[in-house]
């Protein structure tokens, strides 16, 4: 499905772990400032897929990738691209909340800035209004009111749901353009999940979000577009409304009606 000026354009993307091929010639476009959901049974390659977008896949030993991923028209796998630079523009939230345990809540939010060399691209910490960044990022994930008076406590004192929102805040603090989320609610209880989903609605206008989920209701609730992966292939990519009301492929229908997966 071709669209004008996509944020991400994926063409013929294949990926391997050693000899085992986990993605086979995936091609589709991710529109800007929308939420794109990737659904499919476990082991279908959906996590690998989003790890290919910010080049995290290549960190695994013996991992290989072929094909193109374009961010605003630039191929992220071209030789001149530094993965560090790419990942600053394409943030990621993981399945398990992973705040840095040795740092305080505040330092966790600012971790991205410290890890990428101070404030703006040139200067040191002096360029950044640290308190401002912390408050803004924590407000964006609706965590500010819960933690404002304990910013210097260790991050692992928070509940799992709070930790996950902290991780989202940490990703937002570096002001990425794209946010990749790898089953962000998989280890959260229903209430925490609902809060994260509300949050996604708020973030929709400002970020291009790609969310992997095995929860079809979640995909239906939050996303604008949905891609269905099966055994490393993209079966269908469609507007979410269409996908869940009149899927074009038998296998999609079987999956979303719960006949397998």
């Amino acid at each position: 499905m071709e669209i004008m000026d996509p944020k991400l354009r994926i063409r013929d993307l294949s990926a391997w772990y050693g000899e085992r091929q986990v993605l086979e010639r995936i091609s589709f476009d991710v529109p800007a400032a929308r939420i794109t959901a990737i659904i499919g049974p476990s082991g279908c390659g959906k996590s690998t897929f989003i790890r290919c977008i910010n080049r995290m896949h290549e960190l695994v030993a013996e991992a290989r990738v072929r094909g193109r991923v374009e961010l605003d028209g630039h191929d992220v796998y071209s030789a001149t691209v530094a993965p560090e630079r790419l990942r600053r523009r394409v943030g990621m939230v993981f399945q398990k909340p992973n705040p840095f345990p040795t740092m305080s809540i505040r330092d966790n939010v600012l971790a991205g800035l410290r890890l990428t060399g101070g404030g703006a691209l040139r200067g040191g910490d002096g360029d950044v209004d640290g308190d401002g960044v912390v408050e803004q990022a924590l407000r964006a994930v609706a965590l500010w009111d819960e933690v404002r008076d304990r910013l210097h406590r260790r991050a692992d004192t928070l509940s799992a749901g709070q930790q996950q929102r902290l991780c989202i805040a940490r990703a937002l603090a570096v002001e990425p353009e794209v946010l990749l989320m790898d089953e962000p609610c998989a280890s959260l209880d229903p209430i925490a999940t609902a809060r994260v989903e509300d949050l996604l609605g708020d973030l929709r206008s400002r970020y291009t979000i790609v969310i992997v989920t095995h929860n079809m209701q979640q995909a239906a609730r939050v996303s604008d577009r949905t891609g269905f992966f099966l055994e490393g292939r993209l079966v269908e990519f469609e507007d979410t409304d269409i996908m869940f009301t009149s899927p074009g492929d038998r296998r999609t229908e079987d999956y979303i009606t719960g006949r397998f997966g």
Binding site: E84, R87, R88, P101, L115, T116
Partner: protein
């Protein structure tokens, strides 16, 4: 079954015997017998030589561990780590021989103020012996840092160097400190290198370019001259206290590491 109990009790009996013998032997007619020039020069000499050895071994060992844990390919690591550990398996008498026949004369030739039998000679050779302790245990500590934390840092756009400095090293810090403490403890308890290479000066100065007397070399030299006298028991007792203290601190730190693994 009884045999099992006996063998399990053997270590306890051994430690009781050790402490009892040292305490009993150190007294003569109700007075604690001290070495000719007191205990303090020996303790300071031990700390000086072991400290010098650590100053050399720790930076090199840390960098080596970072290479093993972070940059090396698994196949290279498979032969490099055992090769490093080989250095810890070389009998100390061989190190002693190397110290007095190769390192000492060489040092004396290049820096005439350094004597053949001196604190530096012993420390240099000792550093080689304890280096694997630092590198192997640090490598273990680095590898115990969960992959999620590394990925979180990289996904924020960190370079490997930043990831190490800001996230991995602080998380592994207790284990690294424990590695250093264990290395120092091993260096302090080493007898053959100290006896052969650190020199035998009754007064026991604290100039590393000259002969330095340590707790273990006091016992070692004493054994050559006469059967044990009470002062040697006192030195032995001091040695036991110092090594157990360092070891206990290291032990606690290693256990604290379990928090994020």
């Amino acid at each position: 079954m009884i045999a099992l109990r006996v063998s399990a009790a053997a270590p306890v009996l051994l430690s009781v015997a050790l402490v009892g013998l040292l305490v009993r032997g150190a007294w003569s007619e109700g007075v604690l017998v001290l070495p000719a020039h007191g205990l303090l020069p020996l303790v300071l000499g031990t700390l000086l030589v072991a400290g010098l050895a650590a100053v050399i071994a720790v930076p090199v060992g840390l960098l080596a561990a970072i290479y093993l844990g972070e940059f090396s390919s698994p196949s290279r690591r498979r032969w490099l780590k055992p090769l490093l550990e080989l250095l810890a398996g070389v009998p100390t008498i061989v190190y002693g021989l190397i110290a007095v026949m190769v390192v000492g004369p060489w040092l004396h030739r290049v820096f005439p103020s350094v004597q053949v039998h001196s604190g530096v000679t012993a420390a240099l050779v000792l550093s080689l012996m304890v280096l694997p302790t630092v590198s192997s245990l640090t490598d273990d500590a680095l590898r115990a840092v969960p992959r999620e934390l590394r990925e979180a840092a990289l996904a924020l756009g960190a370079s490997r160097l930043r990831m190490l400095r800001v996230v991995v090293l602080p998380a592994a810090a207790p284990g690294i400190v424990a590695a250093v403490m264990l290395a120092v403890s091993r260096a302090m308890g080493e007898t053959m290198i100290m006896t052969l290479a650190a020199g035998d000066l009754p007064s026991g100065g604290l100039d590393p370019r000259q002969a330095v007397k340590t707790l273990t070399s006091h016992v070692g030299h004493g054994a050559l001259v006469e059967p044990l006298d009470a002062a040697m028991y006192t030195a032995g007792g001091a040695l036991l206290v110092v090594s157990l203290l360092t070891h206990a601190v290291a032990h606690r730190l290693v256990r604290r590491r379990g928090r994020w693994s």
